[in-house]
Structure formats: C-alpha cells, structure tokens
C-alpha cells in the first residue's frame, strides 16, 4: 500500500468517520462463543464480538482466515454454527431476518442472461410479491440502480457487463429491501479508485440512515474508512476497536501497521510451545 501526502492525492479525499458522531450503542450483531466447523476443520473458534447498528464495521484479515464463513453465519446460510449469534435481535438464520438482511457474496450472484433491470425486478418481486407493491417495487429498483451508478447500463445483460459492474448489480440486489443489516463480502474488489470512493460514500450514507454494515476487505486502506474494525487471523478475532484506537494502542501510523503489529504479537504468543522444539527448519527460516 502507498502512503501519500493528502495534498498530492489527485482524487478528492474520501470521508473519514467523523469522531463527533459515535455509533448508537445498540448492536446489530452479537456473537458469543461463535464456532463453525467446515469439512471437519474448525474455521471459526469461539468468537466474541459485536457489530453496532448505524455504523460500518470492517472485517479484515488475510485470505483464508474465516471472513467469508463468519459472514455466511451472520447471513444464515452457513451450516454447523454453534455458540450464540444474535442478529437484529433474532438468532441468525431466523426466517424473520430474511427480508431484513442484504448479503452480497464475493462472486456476484446475479443472472447473467437477464438485464440489470430484469435481475432487480425479479429479486424485488421475491421480496415484495403481489400487484399491490408494483409501484413500490419499480421505485426501489430505480433507486438501487441509481445507488450503484448503473442507470446508463440498466438494460444491458448482466453477462455483458464488466466484472466490477456485475458485482455492483449484485450489491444493488442487496439494497432493494432497504435492509437493516448489510453483509458485504469484498464489495470493492476490481473497482477503480473513483468507484471505490463512490461506494464507500454510499456505505456511509446507508450507515447514517441507521443501517448496520459488515464489510470485509483485505485492502487495508479501506479500513480507515470504517467506524470500527474486526481484525481476524486464523479463525480468531485479534482485535475489535475503532481504527484510531487500534493505531493508538499499537503506536502505529496506519491500520496496516497496527494489524501487522498485532499479528506479530499473536505469533509470539504461539511461539512458547514451539521454542522447546528443534530450531527453525529451513522452510521456516526462509519465510
């Protein structure tokens, strides 16, 4: 990642979470002892964390650390979840939650053989069936297309769009029902800087409206745009705090440095078990 002088940046600086508006105390997600087993492997180990409503919580960590599994558990699509996982006051996966959560998977899940508008029309009809809601649906579809800036491509086949555009269609589907909780798995992968900034602006507008957002990313500069961060490593939560507090606590200049600091400390904690064993193998030494 590059650190550049704010004045030298060609693009407009992205909005930082303002420190004078602390997120409301109510939590959209509360986990205690959350454990998930996939294919005999424990992917999440007894996690405790909360995600407040009306704010953006960034979920960060190296690939394979369990971010997607955690998000699937929250969305209620993950099997073999144990421990307590309350989402918007219901146990995760409760049928009452289905209209209230928007979940966007990393790979865009839309119909490539339908146009953008036809995709949204269909998912809107699933959310609000019936002729009575037709006008409301049309409005929701138009707003969602506008939110992700695809109005000019609304009648193009989703399969004919670029990867970044298609993932925005997938995001638009999640915005349809004005959900109380948005779970977004790497929503900005493959997007250019301008679009990334626009999307983060949109996320902040949604949070201001009271929506809780859980956004995963492995791009550390996006962490600075979150209200709160969950740093994960190897199926555990390393830290849960605001970006400022994390930097302050670790004495680091950026969240990336803070994260590396925490990972090193975590490794050092694991080390005592290994120190009694043989010295570093060549494989370990080469790392």
């Amino acid at each position: 990642m590059m650190n550049y002088e704010p004045g030298a940046a060609p693009t407009t600086p992205t909005p930082q979470p303002s420190p004078d508006t602390p997120p409301p105390p109510t939590s959209a997600i509360a986990a205690r002892g959350l454990t998930v087993v996939r294919g005999g492997r424990t992917v999440l180990r007894a996690l405790d964390f909360t995600v407040p409503s009306g704010s953006i919580t960034g979920l960060l960590g190296p690939s394979g650390c369990g971010k997607t599994t955690l998000m699937r558990a929250v969305a209620g699509t993950q099997a073999k979840v144990t421990g307590v996982l309350d989402v918007l006051g219901h146990p995760a996966g409760d049928p009452a939650l289905r209209p209230r959560i928007g979940y966007v998977t990393q790979a865009p899940s839309v119909y490539t053989d339908l146009t953008v508008r036809q995709n949204l029309d269909y998912f809107a009809a699933v959310l609000h069936p019936g002729r009575a809601h037709r006008a409301a649906r049309r409005e929701a579809v138009a707003r969602a297309i506008d939110d992700v800036d695809l109005t000019t491509r609304a009648d193009a086949l989703a399969g004919a769009l670029s990867g970044g555009q298609r993932s925005r269609v997938s995001l638009a589907v999640a915005l349809l029902g004005t959900p109380d909780l948005l779970v977004l798995d790497e929503p900005t992968v493959g997007l250019d800087p301008v679009l990334r900034r626009d999307l983060w602006d949109l996320f902040h507008r949604l949070a201001d409206r009271g929506t809780a957002l859980l956004v995963s990313s492995h791009v550390m500069d996006e962490a600075e745009r979150c209200h709160r961060l969950l740093l994960m490593r190897d199926g555990r939560v390393l830290a849960e705090d605001t970006p400022d507090a994390l930097r302050h606590r670790t004495g680091a200049a950026t969240v990336e440095e803070a994260f590396l600091h925490l990972v090193d400390a975590d490794r050092a904690d694991e080390r005592p078990a290994a120190t009694t064993a043989a010295p570093l193998t060549s494989e370990e030494a080469s790392r």
């Binding site: 996939r38 294919g39 969305a75 209620g76 699509t77 993950q78 099997a79 073999k80 979840v81 996966g93 049928p95 289905r98 209209p99 959560i101 979940y103 998977t105 790979a107 865009p108 899940s109 839309v110 119909y111 490539t112 053989d113 339908l114 036809q118 269909y122 998912f123 009809a125 699933v126 959310l127 069936p129 086949l157 589907v173």
Partner: protein, 240 residues
Amino acid sequence: MTATAGRVLRQLTHDPRTIALLVIVPVLLITLLRYVFDGAPGTFDATGASLLGIFPLITMFLVTSIATLRERTTGTLERLLALPLGKGGLIGGYALAFGAVAVVQSALATAVSVWLLGLDVVGSPWLLLLVALLDALLGTALGLFVSAFAASEFQAVQFMPAVIFPQLLLCGLFTPREAMHPVLEAISNVLPMSYAVDGMNQVLQHPDITGDFVRDIAVVAGSALLVLCLGAITLRRRTP
C-alpha cells in the same frame, strides 16, 4: 411462484437458439421417424405416439437440470434461499415455466404429427397434449432432483443416460412390456415413463377416456409431484 416462472421464461427469451432447438427438434425427429417407417404406417402410429410423450420428458429433464445446476453454482440459489422465498415457490415457478414451454413444444409436435404426418389417433389429440404436459412436468421434477447430485454440467448431462435411458428401454417402446422377462417387466411397472407411454397408447387406440388412461396419468402426475417434493428437500438454506 409467478415471479420465478416469469424470470425463467425471461431468461429463455434472451436465448432464442435454445427456444428454437426446444421447439423444432421434436418436430424434425418425428418427421424423420415418419419416413423411417414409410412402409409400415402402423409402426409409426405406435412409436410416434410414444415419442410424443418421451420428447418433453427428456428435453425438460435436460433443461431443468442444467438451469438449476447453474443456480447452485452461480450463488443465485443461495441468495434466493436467504430471501423470504418459499422452496415450493421456487420449484413451482420452474415447473410452471417449463410446463409452459412444454405446452408449446408438444402442441407443435402433436399438430404436425396428426395433421401433416398422418398419425392415426383414435382418441382426442387434446389428451395427447395432456399426457405430454404431465411428462414434461415429470422431466422437470427429475431434472431438478438430480441437479442436486451433480457438481458440474458434465455430471448433470451424464445423468440423462443414467436416469432416462433405462426407462426408455423398459417403457415398451422397443418391445411390449408383457413380452419382457418377468423381472424386467416388474421393474418397468415401477418406472413412471412406462405409464407415460402407456397413456399415449391408450389415447391412440381408444376413442374415449379409459380406466387405464386415468391410472396412467395419475401415476405420471403423482410421480412428478413426489419427485418435486424430493427436489425441494435437496434445496438447503444452510450449506456446509
């Protein structure tokens, strides 16, 4: 349910080649069959009527198994099941959409057979259409069910010979079921396609609705419903 059916049909409208293949291939094959049996019109009557029942079953099986497999692999199924959509609504939507396609396909194949190719039907052609529609629903149900056991399009296509061909061999198309080895006849008695073909032959030979015909369509409809329910069980909201 109608939303899903509308969406499936809308997907098809973006794929005119598939529509053309679905509608024209059965007509061409039945025409070909007519000239293969040019010297034996009786054979064409029996085989042609059976095939009018078998085409919709096979094509709808293929189309549905690939379509639902795509839903599973592209993540749209997971997305739908995370929304307030009943499994019955999703499956019903597929059955409705492909049922509609089957009506068009069967209507054209039946019309060409009866009016242009001289297929000699004693009963009402409408009843042929009814059986064809039920066969299509059975094909949709089977396709939906087996797609749960296929991890790729390659596997899904291989289920066609595995699931359909044994029924094809035992349904009485090649040799009367009564003439088969008793073990094979017993097996053919529990395979739904046997009743689909028998129903077609009932219409072919009898001017009125016979008791056997009612039994045949009841078995085909019942099997379709049963397999649709089995298909619903394979749709899991939570996956590993």
